[in-house]
């Protein structure tokens, strides 16, 4: 969808040219509605194949689509968060044959999308224009069985239509992005917005958020756009950055050698670390768009829009600002990173809740950013009271950091009361006297290592900490052991 101008004749040549990438992204986000876009089937990931299906989403003869109101509202939330104009809109049919598309056309918005003309500001402060954010239906999922994994060399294919008809919003950016890392920052912020607005769970690994990238290169200072390529199959942020870096280098090398970039669609091969041509512009499909006669236009009137805006919570930028203000004096680069992580995952409310219940903000932020956020397998829910209690125990020295992390893991997995969990596991704080005793014991058992440590072999601290942990079955606090060792060395 990125506008393209033909490459100018006056392309500077030579080694001293400084190249600039011009990147635009198309992000597909699955909306977390209860039901699908045009029928009453459950919108749910990971169920038994072909269980969430009905005549409508299977495209059976005679079936008709009915638009899901909740999907329209979530699309409007996204539009609002991206500062778009929300407009009366309509649906078209995009016609092409593919086995995972039940009707062999996709119902999508074409010349009258619901959201147009907005912008997004990345956490680093770069502003990227938004062309449009429109609604469409997802396809089913095909898996190819047999010799290879591509359709061309499979023995047969299996199609799961649970995903067919799941609502999507496609967010198309202007070609305002200038580097692979900025592209990553854009996707990060967009995911944070999707999560904060409740529109999507933002998970790339499950395919809830999928990114296609358009990239061209031009010498810095040149205004006009060069021929671009579109890269598909970017399933992670890592793939996005790697693919864009690879493609930037490929295009620069090509143009520097006097060649010309051909407009084409590329497939990112993550294992091989390179892009592979899928089809050229000449081979592009003719989708034969025409207005979907089975649906009527949607008019998100002023009153409906006011309701949606009123129901919109804090957006990521506001959430980050709020959390950083709470961090106050402890704000450093690490804290800023942790705040971003926590907000992207929609976990800032947990930090705030723990702090309100008396937990130290630095510890709450670190534990959520590192421990809670890592468990991105979905449905992270931990009782804020229990979480705050655990942090208070750790801060008060009742539990070592290691013990606290163990208790937290159990809280996340099963819930419960942190004191009970700690007691069941025999966790109790070691007094500094008993810790000193154990350290003395370990030193006396390992005189050779101790001698080398005294002579300055610092990495042996880890050896002693490990021994103390073993002797105390993990009850000792690693930091306290290190402090004791340093104290004994003098």
């Amino acid at each position: 969808m990125t506008p393209v101008a033909p490459a100018g004749d006056a392309v500077p040549q030579g080694d001293d040219v400084e190249w600039e990438s011009v990147i635009g992204l198309e992000v597909h986000a699955e909306l977390q509605t209860v039901t699908k876009l045009f029928c009453g089937c459950r919108n749910s990931f990971g169920d038994e194949p072909n269980t969430n299906v009905c005549p409508v989403c299977l495209g059976l003869p005679g079936s008709l689509p009915v638009l899901n109101r909740q999907a329209v509202e979530l699309a409007m939330r996204i539009g609002t968060a991206l500062h778009c104009e929300i407009r009366p809109s309509s649906f078209h049919r995009k016609n092409y044959f593919y086995p995972d598309m039940p009707k062999d056309y996709q119902i999508s918005q074409y010349d009258e999308p619901i959201n147009v003309g907005g912008w997004l500001e990345t956490a680093a402060g770069d502003r990227v224009g938004i062309v449009r954010a429109h609604m469409e239906e997802d396809t089913g999922k095909t898996s190819h069985v047999g010799a290879g994994k591509r359709i061309s060399d499979a023995d047969h294919s299996l199609v799961d239509y649970n995903r067919a008809g799941v609502p999507l919003v496609e967010i198309v950016s202007e070609p305002d992005i200038r580097s692979p890392l900025e592209a990553r920052a854009y996707v990060d912020e967009l995911r944070a917005i999707l999560v904060a607005t409740g529109a999507s769970d933002g998970r790339m690994e499950e395919g809830s958020v999928r990114v296609d990238a358009n990239i061209s290169v031009r010498p810095k200072g040149v205004e006009e756009l060069s021929t671009r390529c579109e890269i598909k199959n970017l399933n992670s942020l890592r793939s996005l950055v790697r693919a864009l870096e690879h493609e930037r280098e490929r295009q620069v090398a090509l143009v520097s050698a006097g060649g010309k970039v051909v407009q084409e669609t590329l497939h990112w091969d993550e294992a091989a670390g390179r892009t592979v041509s899928m089809r050229s512009k000449e081979e592009a499909y003719d989708y034969r768009y025409f207005p979907e006669p089975d649906l009527v236009p949607v008019d998100p009137g002023a009153e409906w829009q006011r309701e949606v805006v009123a129901g919109l919570g804090l957006l990521p930028a506001e959430r980050r600002a709020r959390l950083l203000a709470a961090v106050g004096d402890e704000r450093d680069d690490a804290a800023v990173d942790q705040v971003r992580t926590v907000v992207v995952q929609g976990l800032d409310d947990l930090v705030t809740a723990a702090v309100e219940r008396g937990a130290p903000v630095g510890l709450a932020l670190a534990r959520v950013a590192n421990e809670v956020a890592a468990r991105s397998d979905g449905g992270v829910s931990v009782d804020p009271d229990a979480f705050a209690e655990l942090l208070t125990m750790e801060a008060g020295g009742e539990l070592s950091a290691t013990q606290a992390k163990t208790v937290l893991a159990e809280l996340l997995a099963k819930g419960g009361d942190p004191r009970t969990i700690a007691a069941e596991r025999g966790f109790e704080a070691m007094s500094s006297d008993s810790l000193a005793d154990v350290v003395g014991q370990v030193i006396s058992e390992n005189p050779g290592e101790w001698g080398r440590y005294l002579e300055g072999e610092d990495k042996l601290a880890g050896f002693f900490i490990g021994k103390v942990m073993g002797a105390t079955k993990g009850r000792a606090d690693g930091k306290q052991v290190a402090a004791e060792l340093r104290a004994r060395r003098g």
Partner: protein, 481 residues
């Protein structure tokens, strides 16, 4: 039509069943006997559902015995065009590609019929995917006209028209995209009506051209047609184009007459018709005049463009609607080494020549670079026609014209000349393009002794008036015959 002993009218039959005077089982058994007698010659049915029909009839008889109300069409046998989905009963659309397809769900109209006590006795033959005007495009062979088996019954709902005309059933449902109810009604001498677009739910009607398709009734009398319309009309949340305010007509007001009504004889639907057809339209105009209407001649030249616009819009939508028959999920599959070749082989074997022709026409009309000249232009013509008809309805309440340019033609007469076949729809297409109701009511016969119907056209939501005008015409015929 000698040798047939037609059933009583639908409402008469329902009254007898409700009062216990006649059992639903008897009504259905008699209908099945007539099917066994006549259908080998006519081939109006693709599938006869004897067993489920008798079960349903027994259910109604039990309800009557228990003092319940089985509905306004209690025990009335009905035939359904084979593009209406019936749960567990194959629904072929007259196509090889769906020859063995058994829908897992009922169309909304089928559910409504059952709730009203009607008993489905089978699925009727049709031009493949409703594309045709003679029922010769059925993959399962043609249907004969009950008035002359060498003639076509019209189409695409030829099976439904013939099933009613032959007296096998008092009621049938058809679908009308460009005249597929009204034209066969005219050729078979029965009443056929296309409702306002959105008045009857399309959920479960296998789509031909979504913006034009409407389900409607066939009956031997206007009153029965109105009663059937009343059962199937109304809002359906499963169809986004269903009107929120589509209402049943008041059967008590059917005989209110046309006194003081302004009726326009639509020049374009008279002048270019066969002389015997034009004469019947003039005669019908006289009937309305004598009944107290003020009859004027009116010309809407834009009507002439309807045919061309229709034959771009309908194939365009069809090319998309029929894409799903790809061999992947249901219907015919012809195996091939890869998916694309399987799709192609399936469609090559499963679709007949007329369907292929229209898919190609429609695909072309929507293609990049041609869209604006063809599909876009056709939609603009459609808008112009809607405006022109709107102006006409500023002057008159209803329009009168022919339904079909000729009486029933001989089988095979037009099969090699698609354009000549397409012209059979010239009188009926305007109402599909404007989304307005229209009815064909038999008024007499032509020089060949075959039936001729005239068409009454009204603006959207004009169902009460269209039935009233038709009643006056029907009465005049009954009194002279």
């Amino acid at each position: 039509m000698s040798g047939t002993s037609p059933t009583p009218g639908a409402l008469e039959l329902a009254a007898e069943v409700r009062s216990g005077e006649r059992s639903a089982r008897q009504a259905v058994e008699e209908a099945l006997e007539r099917v066994a007698l006549h259908d080998p010659q006519l081939h109006a049915f693709v599938t006869v559902t004897e067993e489920s029909a008798l079960e349903a009839a027994d259910g109604i008889d039990r309800a009557v015995a228990q003092g319940g109300d089985p509905g306004p069409l209690a025990g009335v046998p009905i035939a359904l065009k084979d593009n209406l989905c019936t749960r567990g009963v194959r629904t072929t659309c007259g196509s090889r590609i769906l020859e063995h397809w058994h829908p897992p769900y009922d169309a909304t109209v089928v559910t409504s019929l059952r709730a009203a006590g009607a008993v489905t006795i089978g699925k009727t033959n049709m031009d493949e995917f409703a594309m045709g005007s003679s029922t010769e495009n059925s993959a399962f062979g043609p249907t004969a006209n009950p008035w002359d088996p060498a003639r076509v019954p019209g189409g695409s709902s030829g099976g439904s028209a013939a099933s009613v005309a032959s007296g096998m059933v008092p009621l049938a449902l058809g679908s009308d995209t460009g005249g597929s109810i009204r034209q066969p009604a005219s050729l078979c001498g029965v009443v056929g009506m296309k409702p306002t677009y959105g008045a009857v739910s399309r959920y479960g009607l296998v789509a031909f051209a979504s913006s034009l398709d409407q389900i409607g009734p066939f009956a031997r009398t206007v009153r029965d047609a109105a009663a059937l319309y009343n059962v199937i009309c109304g809002h359906d949340p499963c169809d986004s184009t269903s009107l929120p305010d589509a209402a049943a007509v008041d059967l008590a007001a059917l005989d209110d007459g046309v006194e003081g009504r302004r009726i326009g004889v639509l020049t374009e639907l008279v002048d270019e018709m066969a002389p015997d057809v034009a004469a019947q339209v003039r005669r019908a105009a006289d009937v309305l005049d004598r009944a107290g209407a003020s009859v004027v001649e009116i010309s809407v030249p834009e009507v002439r463009y309807g045919l061309s616009a229709y034959y771009l819009i309908a194939p365009a939508e069809a090319s998309s609607n029929l894409a799903r028959y790809d061999g992947v999920r249901y219907g015919l599959r012809v195996d091939a080494p890869d998916v694309a070749r399987m799709n192609a082989a399936t469609r090559a074997a499963g679709f007949g020549p007329e369907v292929k022709r229209r898919i190609m026409l429609g695909t072309y009309a929507l293609s990049a670079g041609y869209y604006d000249a063809y599909y876009g232009q056709a939609q603009r013509v459609r808008t112009v026609l809607i405006e022109a008809m709107g102006r006409a309805y500023g002057e008159v309440d209803a329009l009168l014209g022919a339904t079909s340019p000729t009486t029933a033609f001989t089988m095979g007469a037009k099969t090699d000349d698609p354009l000549s076949m397409y012209r059979s729809d010239v009188c009926t297409i305007p109402s599909n393009l404007t989304g307005a109701p229209a009815i064909s009511v038999p008024v007499g016969s032509g020089e060949d002794g075959l039936p001729i119907g005239v068409q009454v056209l009204v603006p959207a939501y004009g169902e009460p008036l269209v039935f009233q005008v038709a009643r006056v015409l029907e009465d005049a015929v009954l009194s002279t015959s």
